[in-house]
């Protein structure tokens, strides 16, 4: 029995040891990172056009968080590396190169067509897949490169916009105000729109370029529109520039029908445009009123996490990131991801299947929208 007591002393010692380790807050519990699959995100996170980049970043973050919540990729966690392609002194190709150097297996972004134009070249050189959630330019269509997109080219919405304006104004005399800072988007939009307007029997009476951030004089832009006698105005500009131009048009009291691309339609448009952007027309590449369970759940999670309504940039980035993650399940390396993206024609989107052609370009339904009483609403079929 004495030996037993000796044993008891040893037990006490053991207990002591385990107590030391087991006390709350005492055990080192750094999260295990495992070998994370690193996915990149490149977008404009600073400057005037950043609302799209920020929304896209938040959408990508949510997609990664959702995938990790359901086990990551075969148990491996997914991490997002973020690069700001609009930070002072940074260009899109630098942002993409930075992500490649950080070892990402694929990149979501960039969010604007011009940035994508530069980024796609670096991605193809570096042999890392790049998937642009909101890149619409025709300039990247039909090419066998390392660039993919989940966003439709802008020929379809440009045609729809021309016919919608024609339905309002009859013979369209359009002024197109476009931002040279995102020329890859705006130039093709302008061209597609012009052709479509002419098909309706109208004409583009004014093509008015400006450069965002380079001291645009909104009053002068509005006065030029007024001078052109246009009855329709197409604003191919970021939300703030579009809001300010809209404001100046309202101040001048011009009676014009204003249209814009989906790029313009973020919350900033309403907050800066005020009553001046009431009735502005645009097309959404997704259905804001879609009631499907998964879409609504994502919207709810997004609002809960980020505190604001997801706009098209957020939704598109969420889908693009989810598609990338799905592709990475077949092999989380750049080559395999590219092969998977190229070889797969259907992915499950939030509002039904997303269909790719063999060049990685996508077709979608376009939903007519407008601003009414300070909110974006469905406009009904024109």
């Amino acid at each position: 029995m004495k030996i037993g007591r000796f044993g008891a002393a040893a037990l006490v010692l053991t207990m002591l040891t385990s107590m030391g380790i087991g006390l709350p807050g005492c055990a080192p519990s750094a999260p295990s990172t495992g070998e994370a699959v690193l996915i990149g995100y490149a977008g404009g996170l600073s400057g005037r056009g950043s609302s799209l980049g920020v929304a896209g970043r938040d959408g990508a973050l949510l997609a990664v968080a959702d995938a990790n919540a359901s086990g990551g990729i075969d148990g491996r966690p997914i991490a997002l590396a973020v690069a700001d392609d609009s930070a002072p002194g940074t260009t899109a190709d630098e942002a993409v190169r930075d992500l490649v150097e950080r070892g990402v297996v694929a990149i979501v972004g960039p969010m604007t067509s011009s940035a994508a134009w530069a980024g796609a070249r670096v991605a193809t050189e570096s042999r890392v897949p790049l998937i642009g959630p909101t890149v619409s330019t025709d300039m990247l269509s039909g090419k066998d490169d390392w660039f993919f997109r989940t966003y439709p080219t802008n020929d379809v919405p440009a045609g729809l916009m021309a016919r919608r304006m024609a339905a309002v104004a009859g013979e369209v005399h359009a002024a197109v105000v476009y931002d040279l800072a995102n020329e890859a988007h705006t130039a093709t939009w302008t061209q597609n729109f012009s052709e479509a307007v002419q098909e309706t029997g109208g004409s583009v009476v004014l093509e008015l370029p400006f450069t965002s951030g380079k001291n645009p004089h909104y009053s002068e832009l509005a006065e030029q529109i007024a001078a052109s006698g246009a009855d329709c105005v197409l604003l191919l500009a970021n939300s703030i520039d579009a809001a300010m131009i809209g404001q100046r048009i309202a101040v001048l009291g011009l009676d014009v029908t204003i249209g814009a691309s989906e790029w313009t339609a973020t919350e900033d448009l309403i907050s800066y445009g005020g009553s001046a952007v009431e009735g502005l027309m645009f097309y959404n590449s997704y259905d804001r009123s879609y009631s499907g369970g998964e879409y609504r759940a994502v919207v709810d999670r997004f609002r809960e996490r980020f505190g604001y309504e997801p706009d098209f940039g957020a939704i598109q980035a969420y889908e693009a990131t989810s598609i990338l993650i799905e592709a990475a399940r077949f092999g989380a390396d750049p080559e395999t991801i590219r092969e998977t993206l190229t070889g797969t024609s259907h992915f499950d989107g939030l509002q039904g299947p997303i269909v790719f052609d063999r060049f990685g370009d996508v077709q979608r339904t376009h939903f007519p929208m407008t601003v009414s009483d300070g909110v974006f609403v469905a406009a009904g079929t024109p």
Binding site: V82, Q247, R305
Partner: protein, 554 residues
């Protein structure tokens, strides 16, 4: 279970007794350390959060204070334009000031020179849907926006709206300088400081990368609590990691300052303290065990040694080597053992001496007895000169026979001694009969034969070590029953008497007698052999052997 070892038991007790206070003390100290450290961590976080809050507050209040000077100024007036222009120029962090009338239309605008906005672009535009305008005009209170990208400069900015008499004064404030200011926040790398606007969006984060990866904190428990106006938890989960943090609310703007640290990092000191404590505890315990074991051994070893000393005493070695123990009790024990050892030795010596004395006394007694017997023998022979030396010679022959027969020492001694006095009864027989040279009459013969009984009577009350009287009584008995006085047969006659009978006859025949000359040894042996039925066959056989070997001592 084996019998416990003393040294193990002592070590165990020592350990247990040492450990219980150590354990109690350790748990107490550990809990205390944990509490103190936690308090310190919380106080540190609180202080950092308060500091950041007050700096942020001061920063945000400054433009509001400036805008309050516009309280009585009418938007769109000359005075308004001058005042706005003056304010924008004097405050380099204010990008623009606009005065909005009560319908939401901008009437006065002043912009920092050189930024990408023309003042005339701002005049006349509608701000009625601007949330800050709505708050300031509807609720007549100062309103701050969340952080946003200024369209004036492209920098991150906030907007402050202050109600004035005829509308709302609004300023766009570049908050890059706030970041620079707050970046002065220096701490160990594990502590993060975050400033969030009312939508939970990061205004400032001490970790730039985290600001990119976690742009909004609406899903973080303490942030949600503070924004909802309830008490924020100190401990919570963030992206699956346990955190400890402090919150503080920026007055007016309602922004949240959160200073946090991963729990494991915050309590590194506690963890280290516990590890140190446990390690020390282990070391102390091991040392205690070693000391206890050594101590126990220092007792157990002498005990075993003293045991060996005791065994050595038992085996007759009374003066084992001294060990010179450390402890007085052990030295005392050893001295006691040595004392006991001496006492045993002394007593044994004295016992041996007593035994020797007793032995000598016995020898003396035996010698006296033999002397006495011999004296008695001589007394008989003095009365009967013809038989002088007879008893002694019988004794010699009888002893030889006994020896030849292989009889034991005691029987042999009885034979030898009794032979010396076997005719003592003749003292009671009249001398004339004893020495009569002619044949005796029947009566005389009867008297002569009385010497056996007389000898018995003389000796029977003397406490000889042997049955001397009985042997004397029977020494004339014969195995065939022809002897006297009782006519006993064979085994009814004592063995000693049977031996003496043969020796007596042989000696008598071989000696001169008053009534005849010596017949010689041969005739004596012949007489015995030819009348062997009268004697014990073993004795006869022994006699023949002695005779054949010429060893008859006559």
């Amino acid at each position: 279970m084996r019998d416990p070892r003393f040294s193990t038991a002592v070590a165990g007790r020592f350990l247990a007794m040492g450990l219980v206070p150590l354990l109690v003390l350790g748990v107490f100290a550990g809990v205390r350390i944990t509490r103190v450290t936690r308090d310190a961590v919380e106080a540190h976080h609180d202080l950092t959060a308060q500091t950041l809050r007050s700096e942020t507050e001061a920063f945000l209040q400054a433009p509001a204070t400036v805008l309050r000077q516009f309280a009585s100024i009418v938007p769109g007036s000359e005075t308004a334009a001058e005042a706005a222009s003056s304010a924008v120029r004097s405050l380099d962090f204010v990008e623009s000031i606009v005065l909005v009338d009560d319908r939401g239309t901008v009437r006065t605008a002043s912009v920092t020179p050189g930024v990408a906005v023309f003042e005339d672009d701002l005049l006349g535009i509608d701000r009625s849907r601007d949330p800050q305008y709505l708050v300031a005009s509807t609720y007549s209170r100062t309103a701050w926006s969340g952080v946003f990208t200024s369209f004036v400069s492209g920098n991150r900015a906030v907007q402050v709206a202050v109600p004035i008499q005829r509308g709302v004064a609004m300023a766009t404030v570049d908050i890059e300088s706030l970041f620079t200011w707050l970046s002065g926040f220096q701490d160990d790398s594990d502590t993060q400081a975050v400033v969030l606007d009312t939508s939970g969006t990061v205004v400032f984060h001490s970790d730039g990368e985290m600001a990119l990866l976690r742009p909004n904190w609406m899903d973080v428990a303490p942030v949600v609590s503070v924004l909802e106006g309830s008490d924020a938890p100190r401990n919570y989960e963030l992206d699956g990691e346990s955190m400890v943090g402090s919150t503080s609310v920026v007055a007016g703007a309602g922004w949240v300052v959160l200073v946090q640290e991963p729990t494991y990092a915050a309590y590194t000191d506690v963890t280290s303290a516990w590890i140190a404590f446990v390690a020390t505890g282990l070391a102390v315990s091991v040392a205690a065990m070693a000391v206890a074991a050594g101590f126990a051994r220092s007792i157990a070893d002498p005990v075993l040694a003293i045991g060996r000393q005791a065994r050595s005493v038992a085996s007759g070695e009374y003066t084992p080597p001294e060990a010179n123990y450390r402890f007085s009790e052990l030295r005392q024990l050893e001295a006691d053992i040595a004392g006991m050892s001496r006492a045993v030795r002394d007593r044994e010596r004295s016992l041996t001496e007593s035994q020797e004395r007793l032995s000598r006394a016995n020898e003396d007694l035996e010698r006296a007895f033999v002397d006495l017997v011999e004296a008695m023998g001589r007394a008989v022979e003095a009365k009967d000169p013809f038989t002088q030396g007879h008893q002694r010679r019988v004794s010699q022959l009888a002893e030889s026979l006994a020896s030849e027969m292989g009889l034991d020492a005691r029987t042999t001694a009885a034979i030898r001694l009794t032979s010396m006095v076997h005719d003592v009864g003749k003292l009671g027989v009249p001398t004339e009969i004893l020495v009569k040279p002619s044949a005796l009459s029947d009566i005389e013969m009867e008297l002569a034969r009385q010497h056996s009984v007389l000898g018995y009577e003389m000796l029977k009350d003397i406490a000889f070590p042997y049955p001397v009287a009985d042997i004397v009584l029977q020494h004339h008995e014969r195995c065939d029953g022809s002897g006297y006085p009782q006519g006993l047969r064979r085994e009814a006659i004592a063995l000693e008497a049977r031996v003496i009978a043969v020796a007596d006859v042989v000696e008598a025949m071989s000696s001169h007698r008053p009534y005849r000359a010596s017949l010689g040894i041969d005739a004596a042996v012949e007489e015995i052999v030819s009348n062997a039925h009268r004697y014990d066959p073993d004795v006869v056989a022994a006699l023949r052997t002695l005779y054949a070997q010429g060893r008859i001592p006559l």
